[in-house]
Amino acid sequence: MIRDITLGQFYPGNSWIHRLDARIKIIWTFVYIISLFLIQSFWGYIPVLVTLGLIIGVSGVPLKFILKGLKPIFLIIVFTFTVNMFMTKGTPLIEIGFLTITEEGLYNAAFMGTRLVLLIIGSSLLTLVTKPINLTDGIEKLLSPWQKLGLPAHELAMMMTIALRFIPTLLEETDKIMKAQMARGADFESGNILNRAKSLIPLLVPLFISAFRIAQDLAMAMEARCYRGGSHRTRMNGMKLKKKDGAAVILMLLYLAVVISQAQGLFGRFI
């Protein structure tokens, strides 16, 4: 069961979006996130929704899959919504004891909530349509100009690559240790939080030791294969921008132009 886990939350596919250069997708995501903060009114969300809908449609990732990604941050959304609803001053709408819901508060809450949901959907879309390994390559490439300023771009990307590689290995290891401890009477499931946290110690200590051992083995194997940091390295699959990547950039600029002009009220007369 543990062998089948998907790394990250990549949704396998071969759509136009899947095949785009990872760098372009990362930049797109950043532009998208920034654009969300430029928007001042509900009307501004229309181009965002249209774009998001198009991207999801083309990528072929089921909507259900995407919405599942919202589950872990559901509490944060509720919290943002509530705080905005009660804490904004303005025309009172309903009063419950010392709490007042204002018209502006309701508007703000809905506005912020939408922004948050769109933010999460947009950024999770990046990891849904980009293989983790391409993502690390893209990050390395995008960060490499900062290398001159001392940013260890290659090392960061290498760390991410290795982390991705060893997630399943460490999960298997955890599974093994857990079963070994259970066979000797360890109980990971009952008791209160404190007891359960305590019962994790016999799991975590061997796991850490094992992680260090793996790291040592791997470091030696990498050295034996002439690894010496990023400076001498070439790459088998150099990232080359293709025509479709250019098209994606044009679409991105178009999107940005629409959002900015909307935010500046250029469409105000029509809407």
């Binding site: 062998r3 790394l7 590689r165 083995d217 791997l218 690894y227 790459r235």
Partner: protein, 280 residues
């Protein structure tokens, strides 16, 4: 220069917290490994065989004495990458030596580190994967492969660096019999293609198929010769609490009982042939 590796009076010692005196993992070993040969090194845990291997790859440096790979001294830092490229190394644990989560990217890791051109890397990766029969699995994630397959990927990763010698440190120790056979077959194929093989193992049956067997104990070379010569000393080997191949053991016991049977028989196949011959 017909020697791939020359070891001159190598001593490797390290300090252990619980002992005042440094431990001599390798204790005055001198060896020459011929180009194109297949040498097996056998020994118990702690006999110094792995330490010896790591000294050849310059992962460890001698405390005294010297190790030469293709004439390069391993202590010479300028030649470090030449040494590691010439003498590739495969380790015991198949999980802990693969770097990437895609098979072909992992095989490309070595050549990428050497700064090989991208088209050339592609070619080398494909060739290496073909030679270990793993081309079909090139896009898979290593954690979905069997131990034997992972170990073959590790070997492909070394071949892609175009080494002249491969040191394998107990490559089959963590594999099931099926995986062990797969890996041993590949190792023999590589040897036939002219690569010098140094196999560290504790499986006698694997060692019996080498050109030369070296038995180590407590950091020293105890026996050194062709398999027939070495396994002729069955008693000594047993005294080191090591096993001998089944056929050797059988010959030893039969001879003890006065049965005349040549000492040169070291494999089960030879034994079968001999017995069949006798029966005819």
């Amino acid at each position: 220069m017909n020697n791939m590796i020359r070891i001159d009076d190598l001593v490797f010692e390290y300090k252990r917290e619980d002992q005042l005196e440094p431990v001599h993992a390798v204790n005055h070993v001198s060896l020459e490994i011929e180009r194109g040969s297949f040498t097996a090194i056998i020994g118990k845990n702690g006999s110094g065989k792995s330490t010896l291997a790591k000294n050849i790859n310059a992962l460890l440096l001698p405390s005294s004495g010297a190790v030469y790979v293709k004439g390069f001294n391993t202590a010479d830092e300028d030649k470090l990458w030449d040494i590691r490229q010439t003498a590739g190394m495969v380790f015991q644990n198949p999980d802990n030596q693969l770097v990437s989560s895609i098979v072909e990217d992992d095989v490309a890791f070595g050549p990428e580190n050497l700064g090989v051109e991208p088209e050339e890397i592609r070619k080398r990766v494909d060739d290496s994967l073909y030679s270990v029969n793993m081309y079909e699995e090139r896009k898979k994630a290593p954690h979905l492969l069997s131990g034997g397959q992972k170990q073959r990927i590790a070997i492909a990763g070394v071949i892609a660096m175009h080494p002249e010698c491969i040191i394998l440190d107990e490559p089959t120790a963590m594999l099931d019999p099926h995986g062990r056979n797969e890996v041993m077959e590949i190792i023999h194929t590589l040897h036939r293609e002219g690569i010098t093989i140094l196999l560290i193992t504790h499986f006698m049956e694997e060692a019996a198929k080498a050109d030369r067997v070296i038995i180590m104990d407590e950091g020293k070379v105890v026996l050194d010769g062709t398999p027939a010569e070495v396994f002729g000393h069955a008693e000594e080997i047993k005294a080191l609490s090591l096993d001998v191949p089944f056929a050797v053991d059988l010959v030893y016991r039969l001879r003890k009982r006065g049965v005349k049977i040549p000492e040169s028989i070291i494999s089960t196949e030879e034994m079968v042939d001999y017995i069949v011959c006798k029966l005819k």
